[in-house]
């Protein structure tokens, strides 16, 4: 009998585990009771501070908090200091929706800066539309979306994936293997890539997805090696990248024999993957820590001063930092922090930011950004090898690309 009851416990434990991986901890801060009403404007900062996405999102939160401090140091918005209310989305999409609702309704924030995965954004979208509140989303994503209540400060498809494909094509890579995490961003991105490939004489050697958080890549690497592609297009997210690159390298692949183009690996992730495993590989972003310019120098210096000299800055962090600055500029221009007034004023606002000139597109709420392809260096930094020369107008639905007619 002993054995049997233990068995029942065993299945109970497994069931509990499965349920638990789906929810997560809670770490709310700041109720705002300290400051008298009227002198401050509350803004929400909503990222995963725990769970599988914490590795990436904590850094964006830090950059956003720094931007808020800088805005405050410069006199605040409309003479009022910003007061951040930080919430934890816990790498769990329903939690993001819940916390967004809490920030809007209970804390009455003027805007929320947050999200990383597309799944979290899709979960929050109805909340912001229903409440007519503003979300500033700081990460590159798969496009095919344009909500009147979301501002997208990361790249859309035609500012990251399409330039990355142009670059691969230029380099003569014709046979591409697609590897991604199994959720909305990689699947949509790969749809775009397949349409591009079909129109540009490229072939798809394979298309594989693994569950988020997956750490076993032996089989997948074997499939890639047997398909012998010219390059891999990698849309894996989070910790999976570490396992993938470690196992790819130990299977004998090098950056020269099998280049991998990644769209979710920035400076911060390179450290965790291990430079040995990823040096020489390609990434596509709009910003690198090494991007030249006075604004970026100041940004990197301020970030290191605040969070430690060994800290790095990355594209999503910079986009999160930009989001705060752009929102503050829009609110100043509008003369109000009311979402509708900010929306009216936001279009056309142009700021000199760490990545260069960024302009808000009034029609689709995306940014005009410069695309940059980089190579990971043996010291862990990323060096730009190619850029688009000037900011690319955002085109989330790829309407200006004939090959993309069948998408969306």
């Amino acid at each position: 009998m002993h054995g049997k009851s233990l068995l029942r416990l065993g299945s109970l434990a497994t069931a509990a585990l499965l349920a638990l991986t789906a929810c997560g901890g809670e770490a709310g801060t700041g109720d705002g009771a300290a400051s008298p009403a009227g002198n401050t404007v509350k803004v929400g900062v909503l990222h995963s501070l725990s769970g599988t996405m914490a590795i990436s999102e904590v850094t964006v939160k830090n950059a956003e908090l720094m931007a808020i401090e800088e805005v405050n140091a410069a006199g605040g918005v409309l003479g009022k200091k910003l007061e951040p209310v930080v919430e934890d989305g816990a790498s769990d999409w329903p939690t993001f929706a819940e916390k967004a609702q809490k920030l809007i309704r209970r804390d009455k924030v003027a805007a929320v800066f947050g999200g990383w995965t597309s799944a979290s954004r899709k979960a929050m979208l109805p909340v912001f539309e229903r409440n007519k509140a503003l979300l500033w989303y700081p990460v590159q994503y798969e496009g095919l979306e344009s909500s009147p209540y979301i501002y997208y400060t990361g790249a859309t498809t035609n500012q990251q994936i399409v330039p990355a494909l142009d670059y691969l094509k230029e380099q003569g890579k014709k046979k591409i293997f697609l590897v991604g995490s199994d959720y909305v961003f990689p699947r949509t991105a790969n749809k775009v890539i397949k349409a591009y490939a079909a129109a540009n004489g490229m072939t798809i050697a394979g298309e594989e997805y693994t569950p988020l958080g997956s750490t076993e890549y032996g089989t997948l690497v074997n499939k890639v090696m047997q398909a012998k592609p010219d390059a891999v297009f990698n849309t894996l997210n989070g910790d999976s990248n570490v396992a993938f690159f470690k196992q790819l390298k130990s299977a004998g692949a090098t950056a020269s024999s099998l280049p991998v183009m990644s769209v979710s690996i920035a400076e911060e992730e390179v450290k965790g993957i291990g430079v040995d495993n990823i040096a020489g590989q390609l990434v596509a972003w709009n910003y690198y820590m090494t991007t030249p310019g006075k604004t970026n120098e100041a940004f990197v210096k301020a970030f290191k001063a605040k969070y430690g000299p060994d800290k790095v800055t990355s594209d999503p962090m910079e986009a999160g930092y930009n989001a705060v600055k752009l929102w503050a500029a829009a609110a100043e221009k509008a003369g109000s922090t009311d979402p509708e007034a900010v929306k009216k004023a936001a279009g056309g606002i142009s700021l000199e930011l760490p990545e260069g000139k960024v302009t808000i597109d009034g029609a689709n709420h995306h940014m005009h950004k410069t695309a940059r392809i980089g190579v990971i260096q043996p010291d862990g930094t990323i060096k730009e090898t190619w850029n688009s020369g000037k900011p690319i107008a955002p085109d989330p639905y790829l309407k200006s690309y004939p090959w993309a007619a069948g998408l969306s």
Binding site: T52, A54, I55, D239, S250
Partner: protein, 292 residues
């Protein structure tokens, strides 16, 4: 055919990873009935031990860390058993919640000490490269993990069958009351079992730094699979754990080869559930005349 064969070493190495993660659990779960949800976090402790030792051991840290992680994770397990779990024996549901809470605390502790992002543990130089086999390369890192798993199993087997302490452990596992009547200090045996079980998790953690991420969430990626192996293999059975890990590893590697990673996971789960329906006691049963 060659593609088929090339999946074989991958299946074996998945099995080795599963086995390493599950080995310690087989004993704490099998002997003491403790559902140790913090087992994954002891794996994490092992991985961070390798990271910390890197400072003076350099690239050989992984080797030095194997015994060090065994002791560190083992000691933490011992503390957990002495301070908390001991008070909850016979209340499995409560230990489940307790150890889950401890797991969360350990995760947050790791996040506070080492930061949320993953850290880098560099593999020793002699582990780069691999042996060409069936048209693909079998990495040395995988062979190393396979060797660590095999040695762990061997050591446990020798301990259980060749030492006095090990025989006491088996006695308590089979029939606690009778063992106590024969003069075995079962509390002492429990302590030791928990130490060894947690220590094995530490060893697993060191080995896993070679192929996966090293971060606060490391344990959560392996705990479900580890429980799967323990339950499918039969509680407290070394043979069962080895057989279940092998089977699940091979099913996983071939299922993923023919379908995809997401579907392979589903297939493994469905196969395990179906197997447990037909044979709820797992592959190997511990025969005992105990009445509990």
């Amino acid at each position: 055919m060659e593609a088929l064969l090339s999946q074989l070493p991958i299946g074996l190495s998945i099995a080795a990873v599963l086995l390493l993660a599950a080995l310690g659990l087989t004993f704490t779960f099998g002997q003491m009935g403790v559902i140790n949800m913090a087992h994954g976090e002891f794996i994490m402790v092992g991985a961070y031990t390798a990271y910390v030792l890197q400072d003076w051991a350099g690239r050989q840290a992984v080797v030095v860390a194997l015994p060090a992680a065994f002791l560190t994770a083992g000691a933490m397990g011992l503390v957990l058993e002495r301070t908390a779990i001991r008070r909850f024996y016979g209340r499995p549901l409560d230990t489940l919640l307790l150890t889950w809470g401890v797991g969360l605390v350990l995760q947050q502790l790791a996040r506070d000490i080492f930061g949320a992002p993953n850290v880098q543990v560099r593999a020793p130089g002699w582990l780069s490269g691999g042996i060409p086999m069936f048209g693909s390369q079998v990495p040395y890192t995988r062979l190393f993990i396979l060797a660590v798993a095999a040695l762990s199993v061997l050591a446990i087997w020798a301990y259980q069958n060749r030492t006095r302490q090990g025989r006491r452990m088996r006695a308590v596992m089979q029939n606690r009351q009778l063992a106590e009547c024969s003069g075995v200090d079962s509390e002492r045996v429990d302590r030791l079992t928990f130490f060894i079980g947690s220590g094995l998790a530490g060893i697993a953690g060191v080995a896993l730094t070679l192929i996966g991420p090293v971060g606060p969430n490391l344990g959560t990626y392996y705990i479900v699979d580890a429980f799967l192996v323990v339950v499918a293999g039969g509680l407290g059975r070394l043979r069962g754990a080895v057989a279940a890990a092998l089977l699940l590893g091979l099913i996983n590697s071939y299922a993923e080869f023919w379908t995809d990673a997401s579907l392979a996971k589903v297939i493994v789960f469905v196969a395990t559930v179906a197997f447990l329906q037909a044979r709820p006691q797992g592959m190997f049963v511990l025969r005992s005349r105990a009445l509990t």
